[in-house]
């Protein structure tokens, strides 16, 4: 069964360092999402792509976070510099394209757990 792949699964870094997360969505899924989930809370959307274009990045802290999906397939989320408050689970998800009215289920990867020391 097709799955969303993410790496690394765990990342420990010191504050002020740069970190990067990678996501490979399910083949054929045009829409890709990055979420941040703080322990004890629900996921919060950081950025949404349709193919290689950003649809929504209103919650992305653009002073330190960046995301790209250059060829409309896999994606990278970067944090530079990392801060203590960035410790969280970073989840990637994908779904069929936005042309399907009424929403669609999202398929989530296993996540990257980031710890900033």
């Amino acid at each position: 069964e097709a799955e969303v792949a993410q790496s690394p699964r765990y990342k420990i870094t010191e504050k002020s360092q740069a970190v990067a997360f990678w996501c490979d969505p399910i083949s054929g899924h045009a829409t890709l999402y990055w979420y941040r989930q703080i322990l004890g809370q629900g996921p919060e959307l950081l950025v949404q792509f349709q193919d290689e274009s950003v649809v929504d990045d209103s919650q992305l802290p653009k002073d330190r976070f960046s995301a790209e999906r250059l060829k409309g397939v896999d994606s990278t989320l970067k944090i530079q510099p990392a801060e203590l408050g960035d410790s969280a689970m970073y989840l990637c998800a994908s779904s069929l394209g936005l042309w399907l009215a009424g929403g669609s289920e999202q398929f989530f990867g296993p996540g990257t757990r980031l710890t900033v020391l």
Binding site: G42, P43, L45, D56, S95, G103, Q106
Partner: protein, 112 residues
């Protein structure tokens, strides 16, 4: 900011019992979805219900939606130990029905 709010925050039941959790939201929606998350893992989609639907079933799961009260419920019947997880509701609005806003979740523990 999170639009959905689940109730209760935590639920402990005996195997074989039913588990019911509720979700309330603030703004008009296009669709509402329920997801399950096992400890420290990614989320798994359970059910999507659209704003013009009132009830959906999937196996042992039953979801209702009352748009007049801006609320939804998820019922798990004949619970099993494997149902132990956190359950989240997520809403998509008319302006972007693919942008989901998640609640804080209900943690369900099923005792053997």
């Amino acid at each position: 900011s999170q639009q959905g709010e689940e109730d209760p925050q935590a639920l402990s039941i005996q195997e074989g019992e039913n588990a019911t959790m509720n979700c309330s939201y603030k703004t008009s929606i296009n669709n509402l979805q329920w997801y399950r998350q096992n400890s420290g893992r990614g989320l798994v989609h359970l059910i999507l219900i659209r704003s013009n639907e009132r009830e959906k079933h999937s196996g042992r799961l039953r979801v209702t939606l009352d748009t007049s009260k801006k609320s939804s419920s998820l019922l798990i019947t004949a619970s099993r130990a494997a149902d132990t997880a956190s359950y989240f509701c997520a809403t998509g609005t008319r302006s972007n029905d693919y942008k989901l806003s998640f609640g804080a979740g209900t943690t369900v523990t099923v005792r053997a």
